[in-house]
Amino acid sequence: MATAVIARAPGRSRWPSLVPYAVLLLATVPILVLYLWLFYSSFFPRIEGFRPVGDFTIDNWRFLWDPQSVPQLRNRPPIIPLTINTFVFATMTSLISLLVSSMAGYAFSRLRFRGRRVFLGGVLLLHSFPSVTLLIALFVVLRFLGLYDKLVGVILVQTAFALPFGIWIMKGFFDNIPWDLEMSALVDGAGRLRTWWRIMLPLVKPGLLALGVLLFVEGWNQFLLPFVFMPSGSQQTLSTLVRGILGEGRFVDYGLLTAVGLYYIAPILVLFVLAQDQLMRIYAGGVKG
């Protein structure tokens, strides 16, 4: 690792050492301000620019204990079922994707079979396929299968969309596991399925966890799929709720919106703080189990 070699090397560097910090900070300010505003705004009646108008209040959060008093929420499904839907959606998609892509990733890493290269290339091709192309036809497919406007249909679609990435990542994890660990199990007569489940999966546990967190985050955040494929009421998720209030009209209540938005993003922020290193590694694709 050549981390910060240049910075630590004595003497020679002609860059005043504070300049990189200053540039980084300046470039990052917009992001910082946006996220700080989200916190800030949810506790004040109104914010004009950077200046709060009125006193500190938790009134914006009353959607949690008294949703009936919030006019924007009156014709919408209650927040708790929406949260449960979002959670079920994120959990189910990440669990199914993990299972299916770790099976397929194992096969691509360890088995030689007909068409292996073609399949592997195809998986990569699918990953870069424009999703709008798929969405239009999926509308028809879901209708045909009777899964349109049902949570389970959207779960299956999201799971399938996550597969190309998941398969490649899982293949990478398995590639890093030395072959002899597995061979002794196979020589002892254990079947492939058993070996995969008992020997291999425990070995790639850190990788599974990292991929699982990433898939959960993507599922929790997903907007387009629930928006397009679950248009009617009760099965919606938090993303469609926020979008619904935001898209309502000219008089947007930013206090309420930021409170709901913060409520929605909070689990992601917690996960982010806990697992940022894993997330960064897996997003960079340079993954090691």
Partner: protein
């Protein structure tokens, strides 16, 4: 990696083994194949087939007819297709430039400073990427809001810029900023790990020779991360071409007629979300089919360009 099949099985059982391997592979790949078949392959085929029909909400799912290339003719007869094509190229080019340049800048700077601080800055840049798109779009919608609310107005006011509702007056600026800040993290992470993989000796040697930091970046770092840069360029181009979510959530292709509409958003609007109530699946499918063809064309062109242009230029340091 070891050659698995040879180690796993004695040679005399190769014939039965071949079959067994295929059966086992099928077992492991079955679930993935089923999902991919139903939710990837079938939709792709259906899209292309559907683009030659008149399938729409008005025809219902059963009363459609074959209409040949009519959808394609209609698309290129539209007085907006050139505007939308132009928008698409502007969007991809500018956001790509923002993403790659900012991503590279953050990566270079963050490995220059203390490791902990560098990691913190990279985390902050990852935040937009892992935030729900609707919340991220909400933050930008606020920042760009009309006076007296939006933050941008207060930032530019001292420079003599009239306060305005930016999404109406300068929609492109907002589209580029929202997509730029979210996409820069991809390049940043790839470049960071590439820079960290460069052997330390090269930097040491350069420092002993008295090279400045900027000199080191230009002569050592950049040539050595040429491949990651090309990878990010190609990959991001393809993703940007297909992306429309953040535009949909902010300007929604407007203001007015198609001011910031890109090709994929046009397809999305036509087939899945429009105000007229008639979802024109087949017409949208034709647009999506063109999008796929454009994407293929661009990736071919880019791969060519890089092979002939960039590959010829040798890195200036020996590895």
């Amino acid at each position: 990696m070891a050659r698995i099949e040879e180690i796993a099985l004695p040679r005399e059982r190769q014939a039965t083994a071949w079959w067994r391997f295929n059966a086992t592979a099928l077992l492991f790949l079955g679930p993935a194949m089923a999902l991919v078949l139903v939710f990837f392959i079938a939709p792709v085929v259906i899209t292309f087939v559907m683009s030659f029909t008149d399938l729409a909400t008005s025809t219902g799912l059963s009363n459609w007819q074959w209409i040949g290339p009519e959808n394609y003719q209609r698309m290129f007869r539209s007085q907006f297709w050139l505007t939308i094509l132009g928008n698409t190229f502007v969007y991809v080019a500018v956001v790509l430039a923002f993403n790659v340049i900012v991503g590279l800048g953050i990566a270079l700077l963050s490995v220059h400073v203390e490791a902990k601080a560098g990691g913190l800055f990279r985390s902050l840049w990852l935040l937009p990427r892992i935030s729900p798109s609707v919340v991220y779009a909400l933050m930008w919608t606020w920042a760009a809001a009309s006076p007296p609310f939006g933050m941008i107005n207060y930032v530019v006011e001292p420079f003599g810029v009239e306060p305005r509702y930016w999404i109406q007056s300068d929609p492109w600026l907002i589209v580029i900023l929202i997509n730029g800040f979210v996409g820069a993290s991809f390049g940043m992470l790839i470049f960071t790990s590439a820079i960290k993989a460069i052997p330390e000796d090269l930097f040491r040697a350069a420092q002993v020779d008295g090279a400045s930091a900027l000199h080191v970046i230009r002569r050592i770092t950049l040539p050595l991360i040429k491949w990651p840069i090309l990878f990010v360029l190609v990959y991001q181009t393809m993703s940007l071409f297909a992306s429309y979510e953040y535009i949909y959530l902010t300007t929604n292709g407007g203001p007015g007629l198609y001011a910031t509409e890109t090709w994929s958003l046009w397809a999305f609007h036509t087939a899945l979300s429009n105000y007229y109530g008639n979802l024109d699946f087949a017409y949208g499918a034709a647009m999506a089919a063109i999008l796929v063809l454009m994407g293929l064309g661009i990736s071919v062109v880019m791969l060519r360009l890089f092979r002939f242009g960039q590959l010829v230029a040798e890195p200036r340091v020996e590895v």
